[in-house]
Structures are given as C-alpha cells and as structure tokens.
C-alpha cells in the first residue's frame, strides 16, 4: 500500500473519533507510520466532526491538504457534501445515506440539500461514490451506535491490511459485552463494499 489519506466526517456523537482511533491502531499494527488528528467544535455533541488519518511509510503533517484525500468516509450526507472539497480527483467517497438536519433546517431558516444536490457536489471530484444505508443496517443489528464499526468495515476492503488485524484492534478497544455486535457490524460493512462496482 502506498500512502492513504483518509478523512472521516460526521456529526458529534456518531462515534467517529473512536473509529479513527481504531483505524490508526490498525495501520500501526500493519507496520505503517500513522498520524491522526480530530477537529471538532467546543461542544460534546451535535457539531461537525472531522478526523484526519494519514497512513504512509513516513507522515509529516497531521492535517491532510484540501484536494488530497484518498478516501472520504462520511457518516452523514450533508457532511459528505460539506467536506467533499478535501477529496482528490478520482478519490473514493463512502457515504452513509442518512440525514441529520441541523437546527437551522428544523427552524426553517436553512434547507437540507437534496440527494441529487449531494450527489452533484460529490461528482465534481469523483465517480467512485459508494452510498450505503449504514444507519439502517446498524439499527437492524440492534444498536445504531455500531454505525462506526460498520463504516470501518466499509473502508477495510480498500486498504491492503489483513482482516484479522482489524478485528484484533476492535477487540482491544471494545468492552466484551458489546464486542460481538460491533464485530458483526464490521463484517456487514466489509461485505457491503467488497464487491462494489463503480461502473
């Protein structure tokens, strides 16, 4: 694997920081240099969250440059559109097809973009877009909070790292009582993108 710059985006409370932590541990155990950094607002919940993960033989800057992200992993649709400009031309976008309207939308002072608008924004950079119903699949498993492990599963086929390393790192970070359902979510996500065809 050459360098991989991943940007994970979503809404505070979706478990993005834990997911990117685990991704960093996976890259480390596979023998890569890795840096990861989060940018989030001042609140505990509800704001935009970004997590930069850089994997290579040697990494300098912890922040990825705009236009150079290899993989945009969006836990929410609006956030996918918002941070799309970080993606490199021809990069990969994995988008959880789920809307969380910001307060301004609920109050009627702003409009949530349509699926077509989100798609149009993403297609400026790439045709390699994978929409997935992660929130629905996580809910079917019995806990919507497993979305973050589902999204890690979606990433995993695109990184040449042994699947057992992923599971080891998840096991180390998850309490045993919720490990099984989180591994199941990871497997489901991995299956989701394993045979994806971008036409």
């Amino acid at each position: 694997m050459n360098k991989q710059d991943l940007l994970m985006v979503g809404v505070g409370g979706q478990g993005i920081i834990l997911a990117s932590d685990i991704l960093g541990e996976v890259a480390l155990s596979a023998g890569y240099d890795v840096k990861k950094t989060d940018t989030l607002g001042m609140a505990q919940r509800g704001g935009s969250v970004l997590s930069h993960v850089r994997i290579a033989s040697q990494v300098c800057s912890p922040l990825i440059k705009e236009g150079e992200v290899d993989m945009l992993v969006a836990f929410e649709k609006l956030e996918a559109a918002r941070w799309d400009y970080f993606l490199r031309p021809g990069g990969l976008a994995i988008v959880n097809n789920h809307a969380m309207p910001p307060l301004s939308v609920s109050l009627g002072t702003a409009r949530y973009p349509t699926d077509e608008e989100v798609g149009n924004i993403l297609r400026r950079q790439t045709n390699r877009i994978c929409f997935t119903n992660g929130t629905g699949k996580a809910a079917e498993l019995g806990d919507v909070r497993t979305l973050n492990m589902f999204m890690l599963g979606c990433i995993s086929p695109f990184l040449a790292i042994d699947v057992e390393l992923w599971k080891d790192c998840i096991s180390q970070r998850m309490p045993s009582r919720i490990l099984q359902i989180n591994i199941a979510a990871f497997d489901l996500g991995r299956k989701e993108t394993s045979n994806v065809n971008f036409g």
Partner: protein, 607 residues
C-alpha cells in the same frame, strides 16, 4: 515498542517517566488530557486545582519541597497563573518544575488567540517545543534535567495540533526514581521575595539566561538538516511538519528550544543558505528574535499571523515568497455553497436549556439578533455570560447571552454595568466549575459594594465542556478519591448573599418563578440551577415523541434549540436516539397542545 499516543498522552508519560511526584492543573482545551493521563498513576499525586493560579502555586510549593512537579494549562490559563509563574521564575526551584502550556491557534475552543511563547521571554525562562508525540515524550525528560541544572521552571509549549494529534512513540524509558532528598530547605533570600531579596534574584536570572543560551548552542533537539542551500527554513513545533512537506528540498534548522535562541547556530546556518525563511504559527516570535540578532529573515510577510497553519496556507505562502510555482488546475476546487452550517449546540437533555429558554422569553429576546449576530431590537434583560458549554446559548434560538470575556468575568461585568447605570436588570450566568475557578471573588465584590444584580450558577455537577472533570463542588478528586465537597449555596450565603434559591433545572415553572422573584428583588440575589449533565446520565428512559394529531405546528418546542427536536418536510419529530427521556421533559412541559409524551404513550394513543 511503538505506541500511538496523542501529544498530551506523550507529555504525561514523559513526565511520569521523568519521576514527577506532584501534578496540578485546571481543565482547559487543548491541555486537559495531560493531567487526566498522569492522574492514572497511583505513585503520582495529581489534582484538579481550583484554577490555574492555584495549580501553579501547588506545583511551585512541591518543587520548593524538592520533588519534580508538573503544571499543565491552556494558553489563557497561563494568563490566570501568570503571577505565580513569574514568581517561580524569580525564586527558582529545588526539585524540577515544568509548566506545559497548550496554545490554541485557530481558536478551536478558546475566547481568544494569543501566542504564549512571549511568556518565556517575559518570565525569562527556557522554552521547549515538541513537533510530534515522540518529541513530546523525549523533551519532558530533558525539561526536568534543565530545570534542576539551571534552577528555573521550564516552559514546554505545545498547540492543539500537537496535543490532539496521535503519532508513534518509541517508549524507551522507565519511571525514574523520584528524589529521595525530600524536605524544604529554608532559604529566605531565595524564597521570600521581599524587595531586598528580589533585587538579588534579578541579576541571577539574567546570568541564568546567558547560561541557558550557551547551552542552546549544543542542544541536541536543535537540529540542522541540510538540503539545497538556496533556502534555509527555521521552524519549530507543528509548523515544522507543514514546512517539511512544502519545502521538501530545502535545508532546515528545526528548533526544539525556542527560547533562548542559539545565536551562533542560527548565524552559521544563515550564512550557508541564500535566503532564510521562518515558518511559525501566530506571532513572528522567532523571526523578530532572529532579526534582532542582525540576521536577515523573511516569514510573516508571507505567512499569516492569524489562525492555525496547515499545508495549504504554508504552500500558498511559499508561492507568494517565490519558492514554489503555480498549482496545477486539478488542485483547484470551489467550496460547496449554500450548505446549512452545523454549529455546536447544547446537548439533548442539557440542564442549561430550560434556564436559557426562561431568560430568552422573559427578556423578549427571540428576535433580538439577526443571522449575522447584530442586534435588531432591545432586550428587557442584559445577560453577562461566562465560559463553559452554556456559552452556546448565545446562538439562536436561545440567544440568551450578551458578553463572554474570560473565566469568571460575568459577575464583575454585571456589577460594572449596574454601577454604570444600565436601565435594565443585569443577570450574570456562570457554571459551577467556572464559579469556583474565579466567580467567588466577584460575589464578594457584589456583597461588599451593594450590588443589585442576579447571579445564576448553572450547577451540572461537573466541568462539562472539557470532558467532565471533577471540581471542588463534586467532592471527588482527580484521582477518583472521595474528598469534601464545597456546597455552592452555603458558600454564597457565607459571603453574605441574603437571597439564595436552589431550583431544579428541569422544572420550567420553578425556573420561571425563581427568575421572576430574583429580578423583582432590588438586592443582590443568587439562583443555583441544579441538574446533572445529560452526557453523564446513568441510564436513559423512554424517549419523548410528538403526537402528530395533536401537534398544531406552533414551533415552541423548536425554540428550545434541542438537537433531538427536528423538523424535516414540515413535520416536527423527536429523534428517539437522541432524546434522554424522563430526566428532562422540558419540551413536554412547554407544549401548549400537550402533543408531546413518552414514546409508548404517544404510539398507543395515535393507533
């Protein structure tokens, strides 16, 4: 073995391995995790101090007693602690003392942007700057040795992007045995700063600085890396990481010690390159100090002195300075336009929401601000605010905060406004941890000077915004031990406040009555609004739901600004995954149509 550690974790581990015995801090982003990490070790005494000034004094006392001490704080925390910090620099120490100061370029979570490297120069103490987690770990050992060798506190300066980035660390040391020569050595000339003694100390400090500057010349973490000689880059901290990528072929002088600077090393480096560029965040601290040596250096002519740097900003600066060509077309992409912003909000079930809704409606503030934050009308209340999650009540729809300056400022500001004669009642709003940090003296001032303001203390039983640290009001120490809790209502009564009320944060009627009665009281009054932080609820109960048959779309519930209450395609609904249920219910109390109830009840009724 290599570990993936954040800068803060690495700093704490480095301090622990350097044999730190006492650590003190007050929480503040991005410094908080330093003390949280070191508090996990049983063989260290670690405390959350009341504020940064006390933390600095605790650290200094421990260092006087001969042990290695650690003080960690954020950039504005050093403003609070600047008095004992300069005192520490004046007296010197016995055991090593390191002050880690975490700056916040870009203002991710602060009230201002300031470059704390100036404090090293002001206090005349050595300053080290790590550029990644490995250096954070390594430099802590060096910092303690320097502190003891030169009899000075050492400032370790980090920033958000170092403190909150994870990178690999080779952990190659074990814990050094803490000093066995315990005990305070009486020395009034060194430790009692009467003018006659302080006058003796000052020339000693100047001599110390000369010695440290000589040491800086051979300091192993000031590294020269030769590349092409057409450009020499002088840099430190995270700026080094950006510069390394942008100026891939240049020669580098990477400074691990940024005060005092190695004059000879800099001059030698400058002589061997055609042009010298300083890459640094915020102020031209290095650049001006280098220029003062008579060395020609560019930097801030091209690199902004405002905000956090990143690869794009450094690259654009390199282009303007003529070191890089034009970008290729494919790299240019416009920001998507017209997307709704997603600012941080008070959480679902937040105990602050109800009080701010009351202040909003009583102050008739719902249309006070337009979308740009400009006043569109007059409020019946002036609300001075403070620092914590509750500062988010500034945003619409709550729009219930008029000022936020620094920790504890709300009370003094309210008194000043009242004494200046503003026509309306002034309400100061402050959180429990912030009140204990620096609000108490404001109340003393109000009682002493016959203040007529109303002070609301939002008591959620934790320091929430920085990630739920304990404080003197919780009665639990930083290391999880039970201690004595300071009771807020007894504290303000003891100061002499006559009108003190305690109200349930989730009882809308009681909140309204308490605020009304305090506003009517011409004397100084205190309302303690008590309710636990929603993020720490032990268990959630049935979420609330909207009965669509009863809802007439009046929109009152939306004016709480609760993230769980959402509206999409014309219908209000409550996100069951976000609502905390029985612990809150303020939307249910407000709904004039009684259209909100627990999810099973609503589901049953609408069948």
């Amino acid at each position: 073995m290599k570990k993936l550690l954040s800068g803060n974790e690495a700093l704490a581990l480095g301090a622990y391995h350097a044999g730190v015995a006492v650590a003190a801090a007050y929480p503040g982003t991005p410094s908080t995790e330093i003390l949280e990490t070191i508090a996990q070790y049983d063989d260290v005494y670690a405390e959350w101090s009341t504020n940064e000034k006390v933390a600095m004094e605790v650290g200094l006392g421990a260092a006087y007693a001969g042990v290695r001490a650690l003080v960690s704080l954020k950039q504005v925390g050093l403003n609070v602690a600047s008095d004992p910090f300069v005192a520490a620099a004046t007296t010197g120490i016995d055991g090593g003392m390191v002050v880690i100061c975490a700056g916040d370029p870009g203002i991710h979570s602060s009230q201002n942007e300031q470059d704390n490297r100036h404090y090293a120069k002001l206090a005349k103490v050595p300053m080290l700057e790590p550029a990644d987690s490995q250096e954070a770990y390594d430099l802590m050992a060096v910092a303690y040795d320097m502190s003891e060798e030169f009899d000075t506190p050492v400032l370790v300066y980090t920033t958000t992007r170092i403190s909150h980035s994870k990178s690999l660390v080779e952990v190659n040391r074990d814990r050094a045995t803490p000093s066995t020569q315990l005990g305070f050595k009486h020395d009034v000339q060194k430790y009692v700063m009467l003018p006659v003694h302080a006058r003796i100390r000052h020339p000693m400090i100047e001599e110390r600085l000369v010695k440290v500057a000589a040491y800086a010349e051979t300091f192993p973490h000031n590294r020269v890396m030769w590349g092409e000689r057409s450009l020499g880059v002088v840099t430190s901290g995270v700026a080094y990481q950006y510069a390394r990528e942008v100026f891939a072929k240049a020669s580098f002088l990477k400074l691990g010690m940024t005060y005092p600077l190695p004059r000879n090393l800099l001059r030698e480096f400058a002589d061997k390159v055609d042009r010298l560029m300083v890459v640094e965040e915020l102020d031209p601290f290095l650049q001006e100090n280098i220029q003062a040596m008579g060395i020609k250096a560019i930097g801030k002519e091209f690199i902004p002195r405002v905000g956090e740097l990143n690869l794009r900003i450094v690259e654009e600066a390199a282009r303007r300075a003529g070191f890089l060509g034009k970008p290729s077309q494919s790299q240019e992409i416009d920001l998507p336009e017209g997307l709704p912003r997603r600012p941080p909000l008070l959480c679902p079930g937040c105990p602050h929401t109800g009080l701010f809704f009351v202040l909003n409606t009583m102050g008739q503030r719902s249309k006070l601000l337009d979308s740009s934050g400009k006043a569109q009308g007059e409020s019946k209340l002036v609300i001075t605010g403070d620092i914590g999650c509750y500062t988010l009540a500034t945003y619409p729809p709550l729009s219930a905060m008029d000022t936020t300056a620094c920790m504890g400022a709300s009370i003094g500001q309210a008194l000043g406004m009242e004494k200046a004669g503003v026509g309306t009642k002034v309400v100061a709003v402050i959180g429990d941890s912030t009140f204990l940090h620096s609000g108490i003296t404001g109340v003393v001032d109000g009682v002493y000077n016959n203040g007529q303001i109303t002070i609301v203390i939002l008591d959620n039983g934790t320091t929430a915004m920085t990630g739920h640290q304990d404080h003197p009001g919780t009665g639990i120490s930083a290391q999880g031990k039970k201690t004595r809790a300071v009771e807020l209502e007894r504290l303000v009564q003891g100061i002499g406040v006559g009108d003190v009320k305690v109200v349930d944060a989730f009882d809308m009627k009681a909140l309204r009555a308490a605020v009304r009665s305090s506003l009517d009281n011409p004397e100084l009054s205190v309302i303690v609004v008590r309710g636990g932080c929603a993020v720490r609820l032990p268990a959630r109960s049935e979420p609330r739901a909207v009965d669509v048959d009863k809802c007439d779309d009046c929109g009152i519930c939306l004016r709480l600004g609760c993230p769980a209450i959402q509206k999409l395609d014309g219908q209000v609904y409550i996100d069951a995954a976000l609502c905390v249920g029985d612990a809150c219910t303020i939307c249910e109390q407000l709904c004039p149509k009684k259209a909100i109830g627990s999810l099973p009840a609503v589901a049953k009724e609408s069948k």
